[in-house]
Symmetry: C2
Subunit: 200 residues, 2 copies
């Protein structure tokens, strides 16, 4: 049986499309951040928050909360959203093999001891710029590099905040591929083959 496949990726590296193609080829469900959020809303988890807040960590919005045990602690809206997403990710993974893109799924599943294959996709700036330009017509060429760097920073911060690990540290992944040099098709083929042969 295939493992659950998690995909972390640099923005513009094609990791999302690669994940979709892998799911299609292996005929297993695909979940990205949008789908995870939709399921979380449908389940009633942090519904209003997810509808109004973004994906990333904020250091400003914090509030008091009282846990079931009566301990007072701080929790930000983003923490609430993370907890809701985590619940959905675990529910999806427990149903069987699937592909999950982003949302610290690699960390969440490993910590719960769920059999998973953690993949990371990256590419050099030139490939990422080219890819983003092809897909988002209204983006200005001059600002792309800044936007890519900002997205990378957001993902790193988000990952560090919720996992206390460094995003992109090779120790966290079973396979890391450069979609720029290898091409997206070979990334898809490689991931599928490794999933098909992943030890039980």
């Amino acid at each position: 049986m295939y493992p659950v496949i998690t995909i972390s990726r640099e923005f513009g590296s094609g990791g999302h499309s690669i994940g979709e193609a892998v799911a299609k080829q292996l005929n297993i469900p695909f979940y990205d951040g949008e789908i995870v959020n939709r399921v979380a809303i449908e389940s009633g988890y942090a519904k209003e928050l997810i509808e109004t807040q973004g994906e990333y960590t904020s250091s400003t919005a914090m509030w008091f909360d009282i846990s079931a045990a009566g301990t007072m602690y701080f929790q930000s809206p983003q923490d609430e959203i993370f907890i809701a997403q985590k619940k959905v990710i675990l529910e999806c993974a427990k149903k069987g093999p699937c592909v999950i893109v982003g949302r610290c799924a690699d960390y969440i599943l490993r910590k719960e001891g769920i059999r998973c294959m953690n993949v990371m996709i990256h590419a050099d700036m030139e490939h990422r710029k080219k890819r983003v330009l092809e897909r988002y017509e209204n983006i200005e060429n001059v600002s792309i590099e800044k936007r890519l760097a900002k997205k990378d920073k957001q993902r790193k911060t988000y990952y560090k905040y919720y996992t206390d690990k460094n995003w992109g540290d090779f120790r966290e992944y079973d396979v890391i591929l450069d979609s720029g040099s290898l091409g997206e098709a070979m990334c898809v083929k490689t991931i599928c083959q490794l999933a098909e042969n992943f030890p039980e």
Copy 2:
């Protein structure tokens, strides 16, 4: 045509054996540190130094030298060895596709614009300990972790010193594989397949 394949690896991850198996399967030459040194000695490059000095950087042994242009500069024996190894690596790579393990070959070839596929192999401490114990009978179990950590540190320092880049940074590699979770055979298969399909 296959690219030149460079393999960086954590000590005990099986990267050396994987490299040998890839070279055998693709029927191309294999070079590791020992072979690079032997060729350097045969070529007369830094012969005495290579025969007496180790692989790693030293901050103590430095001497004055005068370049052909008459400029005086400092150069350590390790720098001399590195330059000799670099010459050999470039000569080997220019002959055609091959596998080169270690010695910053990834950095050296990329900098010279030589078509190469840079691979990194790692594994978790348990797998590495197990592998080292199986291969080196006289090693004490208790000291293995320390020795592995020391080897990692030496390689990182060596890489940083000669490339000014961080060893293990995903941006430097086309593919990074966890030989512990994926198994050595799948690593060999994956590398061969990626090399066979590496863009011209």
